[in-house]
Symmetry: D4
Subunit: 249 residues, 8 copies
């Protein structure tokens, strides 16, 4: 990153010749640092208020470590998603000080308890035990991005009493993430119980006609509940990201 | 049909040289009558205990009328499915005495109140107002084939209180037919409320990612409720047919 | 609807034996009125703060008129979507006093300028002239549900200068609805320009490999922008509904 | 599980203040035990008359063993499906006393000869040698759930004489499960030979245009035999479960 | 067509300087006549022993008539397929002397009883009444191309006794064409009954999961009978064409 | 197999009370031998004139060896397809005397030069080097089943001069098998060069939009050459089997 | 359009204070005119050297006429594609002076013989008579955009001699557009005959497994000829547009 | 290859009896060398001006080495694509002197700096770090085939400022290759920024609804930018090949 240009800008702000809003606007136009093969956005946290997130698949542990180092040098928190255990281990050896969540496959460099930036609770609801990794990714991301999170797990629609027993938690949330594989019916049922936005995450759980998450995806897109929007299959991160933006409104 | 052969057989039964079970077995091997372009199975009612059912699409009103006449001559009840209103009108003009159910698109020649042959109640459950034609087909067929039918309509999963208010009816049924379009989640929820077989019928209701019933079909095939089996999209007739066989057990 | 039960409840509230929150909670458990073939939810507006919305396809003008009448009798606003011009005309003849938006195919019974209930602006962005009907549905619904709406139309990604010229409007919004057919790339580009939630609506516009909106749908689900969620193809209503919930937070 | 609440209920039954049916009804509303990550339904056997069945994929041997232990402690039989040989070995080491069926991949804790609860015979029919694992799953599950089972294997439709040679067995069954891959034609042919419900199970056997079971699935859904319903690809368990419910009627 | 070149060639044959085989070989390299928008192959009959066949869809009656006229002028027989009734009427008005088969949608200019060129019988087998148009196209084409044809109609696999009653006819054929919609199982069953080549024709008959013939197509491609090959959906013409080539061997 | 019944039958033939044709007919109705898990058809060679062929995938080397032994004991030739090298090695150790074709993955027990039973040449044409295994399977099967085979390899449509250089061979064949992956255009081009039946075999060669053979399959089904029929993806065996039946006519 | 700003700019160019390249660069950033519902890009011709092209579907004749008028007022040529005959007639009544090509469905306002801007010949090759409308669209667009065009029509791959007879024309072209439906094999064959870029256009011609152009599309994408790129199904316009850009290089 | 025939031809050229153009034309009709299993085209470089390119998958290192040796003996440059590292190592051991590009998986035998044959710059643009291998394949091939290449990497559409910062490079190119996975929107955006042909390469990068590159492929085919054509998923080679042909015009 262009630190000189940033310094000049900040001195102008201090000197009063540039006001704060204009400075933030300017900074969101500044260039970016080059790490071999990838442009690293060192002031993204500044610009959108959320740290850079590294999508690990297709990157070597060395590449991930290099990006982490660059961002840590800029005193930013870093979150990496879809990090396999052996990759995490090698990155942590290279750049110590991170925290690895094996279920959610998240690698985090930052405070264990990030400051709360959201205004309410994000509820994470999941249908079956096989959906847990995606739910854990969503919960882990939401917590690191500064939200209070409540999880309601293993409440499939074929056992309504389990779900209804948790309806108080569901109704206390400001925004809900509902994770389900197979027929993906849970968002419709949860959507009917609350009057808040529901972000549905289809999972690739299931066999045969589940088609790797397609059945759940189609079910969620055609939900009869009007308060449901959908993200990509297994995209717990994306759901948590959008929920975070909503929870900050 | 080979009436001579049938007469000989029946006389042998009367004379005692052939017992009833053997006679029925034999008769199920007998040949069939030829109506122009279609072989008509005049003793199907005898053989499987259910009258011949005519699938109307692709047949002219004249062809349908001719089949009806042949079967009525053999003193059988006749049911035709997927009969468009104008087709029904022309068949009824040609062969009076039938009854047309416009919502379920069924044309029926037989007693208004067929004798009850099933042992319990068949519940017909449907999700939305647009699913009504398929539910009506299932209900009409089940009633004509000798079953007591209870309908629970317009109970989508996004409004659980409506569905739960009908749970006594659901639990009173011996077999259930659940009709739903869009995400097709209703069979999973109903399946979790009862311990009886549930026959799921996806409907072609819905737009976009509903893909003419594919979303509902996949949702039902991947249902997390273990007591659900599935028939083809919009196949209210097939669901009622199987439910009838089960209800006679 | 069970008016007696509602009356008793409201008298208890007045008498002070039940407080307001408890009453609202109770009322959200109350039953519903039966209109022939469809259960009408007369206190939905009360419960989720949004009037009942009628999905017109598959309903006759008479059925729509009957539902409208029932809801108007309960002094509720009514919105019907996907209303064809001839259907609208017949409903308006039957139940005068409504307003028809031909582009968005919306029929509305309620104040021309509904009270503003949302906290910010909903931006509606669309890619091409063929996407206008869906954008108009989204805009019309959002406005009727009490939101301030800004529309930025005809800003496809192949002409970036058009889109960038509107970036101030995009950044002023609290939540954005982005409508696009064909390759559905607009939500990704808009998503990169703002730090607010973006609801993407694929449209069935396009031919050949557009596959009736599938190309756009897949493009939006796999968007490289993390702040994008997706609704069903052509579902301008659903997008506006969720945007409304978000805008009220 | 809430043992206190259960004890009170049972004492009321003994004291006569609650009758048996009401008690059973009540108990089906009772909560459930929490095993780490999964809610275990300890009185499911009571409620629907069928023991909890564990779907093994996605669970570690330790998780499966823990669930088995919890259920055995509650004196319930346990069935686990899709258990790989190495997983079975580790669970059996951890919780001895179970029985593993390698072909059907079933792990069973319960009596070798469960009490017969069904009223007739369930016939399991399969098309080719490659369909045997799914047929074995169906047969093993049906037998454990208390049914008499007859298997008719390797009777594909391209060799009709093999199938016809078994028609007496087919006709003796109260409900039939027909397992087939490739073109999935067997259920149609069997369905035409009997007047009982046929549950069709497509298998993922085949290559090329078999598309992992899709060809068989579509073939079964569009069967010209009206007594056929369908479950998910390779879902031998689901077929046996529904057949069991039907056989108990 | 280049008549001069043909004349020279034929005179050389007559003169003995070119033998017959060489002449035929040469002629198969000769150019073709231009009819507005379409090159008409006036010696195709000579070259492959089968007259030019016109695929009517997408051509105007005038274009078809012009091609017919050109070919008739060259003293060739002409067959047009997929000819709608109104198109046939207009072509016949323009170029009298043809024969129209309304069920098979075939228009034929040539002898009513073409000379038999095939060595055996082609059997045409079809599953249901709705498959009749495609079976009629196959039968009509085969007969016009000089084959003896036997038809066995309405013999679906759910009524095996009907099919088995015709097994003598099936076994008498040198090559078989089997036409079926829905699950497309008939070719597998017929293929198991005979030891001759079976050409399977999927039809677009059926609804829902039949997907316009896809279910039947996949079923036929994955047939467990090894003597089955497949042509395109509804392609009765193609099946008859190949059967003709085989029957001439 | 029922040897007694066979002996009686053959003695009747010898005695003259049954003539040969009737005996063959009878024998084709006789039962079959049971090898654990699979019914082995020991007189298939007699019935259709082609030895039993074992499809190896999904069978253990032990099962294959057992079937081979049973058939060899009945003095039949045996062909196994899709035999992986390690499987072949284990079967050959268990039952020596077979011959393994590694490219075509065929295992053969029988004479190296089977008697010629076909009347002409079967040409095997393939498009690219990656299609060789499927072409080799087709060639190997055709040769073992008693046909003269000519192979024309590596003649893709993007290099027409290679293909045209082989046109004499193509025209000398009585039936042709054309193997191609990717766009699968070769059967159309070959089909236009000959007037004999062409059996097209799509292969799973290719990446991306080849979709594992789907592109080639669709291309072949929609071929503009009328003498093309199609078998399943990679089904070299099936193509050779049908070509053999045709070549024996 | 902002004519004042353009005038100032051009005067600066004339005055020498701005050079030509800078002016062109500037102008490509200028705004655009608003026609009700659509932003009309009045200097597009200036910017990319190609006139604005109107895609007619989804626009009323009035909207098209208004856009035409606006562009004509700015002295630009206008081309509209996919114009149905009745729409063309109404636009021509409203804005006379245009020329309608019924086969290619093109409406053109501009010189009958546009100035030649391309450096060589664009060859348009098509497979069957049904592909003619798409080939005509490509040819018409290419000619209007200033290219010399040669058409080679009706040269399907099943009749190679027709295609080879035109190889001189194919080799004379600088860029080729190849239009084909069904199996879409023509681009591969043409691609092998020339060493110039080939733009393949799949058409929606064909039935059954052609799936509205999908078979041709997949065939072209997986072409074994390396000089082939592909545009959308039926997109004759797009092919001509890219060919024009290439021909101007 | 037929060296004698080539020598005679060249001597005739030298002697003046054949002119150069005729000689080149002749040579493009000459035959080809046979390497075991593959016909090697030893004068392809001569004919189309581009060396033979070996597609490595499905070939053994020995087969690749043999083809390389044959071509090197004919003094040709050789390029192999999709060469895995271990395969490259074995070929290089066998035939030293080559250069391996591990990222682009290219193996090259020829000059490090091939002579420039193209007239301008080919720009390679890619969206994300995961698209780098395909971009590297395109860049490596284009450079080896004699083009100047400029790469603009990691410029996804969700970060427009990155892309716009490179617009000078984009506008300097004569032809552009745009590589993108996921929603594949980059070609549309780049296509709008330039007035040169854009070749879009979808990559198989992404998960869930990316469907291995299908989402990107459909997005590119339906691009709203008219200057975009498309090649197969991950086909960096094909894009570079066509770009080379265009760049030589």
């Amino acid at each position: 990153m262009d630190r000189d240009r940033l310094r000049r800008l900040l001195e102008e702000v201090r000197g009063g010749s540039v006001d704060v809003d204009a400075a933030i606007e300017s900074m969101s136009e500044l260039p970016f640092a080059d790490v071999e093969g990838a442009r690293v956005d060192t002031h993204r946290a500044l610009r959108v208020g959320i740290p850079e997130v590294i999508y690990a698949p297709g990157k070597t542990p060395e590449q991930i470590a290099e990006i982490v180092r660059t961002l840590r040098r800029a005193e930013q928190d870093v979150l990496a998603t879809r990090v396999a255990p052996d990759v995490a281990e090698r990155v942590l050896t290279d750049v110590p000080g991170g925290d690895y969540d094996a279920l959610g496959r998240l690698l985090w460099y930052g405070p264990a308890e990030p400051a709360t930036l959201g205004n309410g609770i994000i509820a994470i609801v999941s249908a079956g035990t096989s959906d847990l990794p995606v739910a854990a990714e969503a919960a882990g991301v939401a917590q690191r991005l500064g939200n209070k999170v409540e999880s309601v797990l293993d409440v499939g629609v074929a056992g309504l009493h389990r779900l209804l027993a948790s309806s108080a938690v569901l109704r206390s949330a400001r925004v809900l993430i509902v994770v389900a594989g197979m027929e993906g019916a849970l968002p419709s049922v949860v959507g009917g119980l609350v009057d808040k936005p529901v972000i549905a995450v289809p999972t690739s759980v299931g066999y045969g006609a589940a088609f790797g998450g397609v059945a759940a995806l189609l079910g969620m897109l055609t939900s009869c509940a009007s308060n449901v929007t959908v993200v990509n299959i297994d995209n717990g991160f994306g759901a948590a990201y959008v929920a975070t933006l909503i929870n900050r409104l």
